[in-house]
C-alpha cells in the first residue's frame, strides 16, 4: 500500500525496519549509563578535585558546566546546518530529523549556558547581564534557535519547512565564529578563551582535566538526547504519514 506523501521527490524510509528498533534501545542505554558515570565523576572532580580559584573563589566552579554547555550549544547549530545542507542535497528526510533534533538540543544547552553564565556574572561582575559582545552574540544565537524552532513548528512537517529551516541554519551559522572571536575583536567583560585554538591551554592541569571530563560528559548527554529526539522525529513523521493515508 502506497503511503500518501506531500512530495514524491523526498525519500521516505520505513521507520520500523528490523534491527534498527533493536539497536536504538541498546545504544540509548549505553549512552545513558556512560553519561551517568561521567556526571558522577564530573561532580566529584568539580567539587573535590579541581582547585579553588584564588580570585573568584568557589563561584568559579560554575565554569565547568557553563563552558561545555556553551560549546555544545554553538556546535549544535553546526549539526543543524550540516543536516540542512545534506537534506537539500540528497532530499533524505532522515537528515532533516537530525537537524530538528539538534536545533532543540542546541536551544536547551545554550539556555543552560546563558543561565549559568548569568549567575557567574552576578558573582564576578556584580550584574546578571551586560550588553557585552560575547553575551550579546550568544543571545543572538539563542534567538536564531528559537526562530528556527518556531519556523519549523509553523510550517509543519513538509519539504518546504525543511528547506526553509536549512537556509535559516546555514545563515545563522555565521554567528558562531563571531561568538568565538568576539572576545578578541571587541573590548569585553567576558574572559578570554581558556582553550585558545592553536595555543596552549590557559589553565592549571587539574582544572583542565576537570573541564575535559565535564565536556566529555556533556557530549555523552547530548548524544543520548540526540538519539531520543531522532527517534521521536522519526515516529512523529511516520504517524503523520499513516494518518494522512487513512484520511
Amino acid at each position: 500500500m502506497a503511503l500518501a506523501g506531500q512530495d514524491t521527490n523526498v525519500k521516505r524510509r520505513d521507520a520500523s525496519g528490523p534491527g534498527q528498533a533493536e539497536r536504538f534501545p541498546i545504544v540509548s542505554m549505553v549512552l545513558l549509563a556512560l553519561t551517568f558515570i561521567g556526571m558522577m565523576i564530573s561532580i566529584w572532580m568539580i567539587f573535590l578535585y579541581a582547585p579553588t580559584d584564588a580570585i573568584e573563589g568557589d563561584a568559579q566552579r560554575i565554569f565547568y558546566f557553563h563552558l561545555p554547555s556553551a560549546i555544545i550549544g554553538m556546535l549544535s547549530l553546526g549539526i543543524v546546518a550540516l543536516g540542512g545542507i545534506v537534506y537539500l542535497w540528497k532530499k533524505d528526510e532522515r537528515w532533516d530529523w537530525v537537524a530538528r533534533a539538534a536545533a532543540e538540543l542546541g536551544t536547551v544547552f545554550l539556555t543552560f549556558a546563558l543561565i549559568t553564565g548569568s549567575i557567574w556574572g552576578r558573582t564576578t561582575w556584580g550584574t546578571w547581564w551586560t550588553w557585552d559582545a560575547r553575551l550579546t552574540t550568544t543571545l543572538i544565537l539563542w534567538f536564531i534557535y528559537i526562530g528556527y524552532l518556531m519556523l519549523r513548528s509553523y510550517m509543519g512537517r513538509t519539504p518546504a519547512s525543511a528547506r526553509a529551516g536549512a537556509v535559516l541554519a546555514i545563515i545563522g551559522l555565521i554567528d558562531v565564529p563571531i561568538i568565538y572571536e568576539s572576545v578578541n575583536w571587541w573590548r569585553t567583560l567576558h574572559p578570554q578563551a581558556v582553550l585558545p585554538l592553536g595555543s596552549s591551554p590557559q589553565l592549571p592541569l587539574e582544572m583542565l582535566l576537570t573541564l575535559v571530563v565535564a565536556f566529555i560528559t556533556f557530549t555523552l548527554l547530548f548524544s543520548f538526547l540526540m538519539v531520543q529526539l531522532y527517534q521521536l522525529e522519526k515516529m512523529q513523521t511516520l504517524a503523520q504519514q499513516l494518518r494522512a493515508s487513512v484520511e
Binding site: I115, T123, M235
Partner: protein, 51 residues
C-alpha cells in the same frame, strides 16, 4: 559563602532543568508511541475492510 550559594543554585538549576527536560522528552516519546499504535490499528482495520 555567597559565591558558594550561587554555585549551588547554578548546579541545582542545571540538574533540575536537565531532569525535567529528560522527563518531557520521555513523555513525548511515549505519547507518539501511543498515537502510532492507534494509527497503525486504524490502517490495519482499513486494509481488512477493503480486502
Amino acid at each position: 559563602m555567597q559565591g558558594l550559594t550561587y554555585l549551588v543554585v547554578a548546579y541545582v538549576i542545571v540538574w533540575v532543568g536537565l531532569l525535567a527536560y529528560l522527563g518531557v522528552v520521555m513523555l513525548r516519546i511515549r505519547g507518539v508511541r501511543t498515537e502510532l499504535a492507534a494509527v497503525k490499528e486504524l490502517v490495519r482495520e482499513q486494509q481488512e475492510k477493503s480486502s
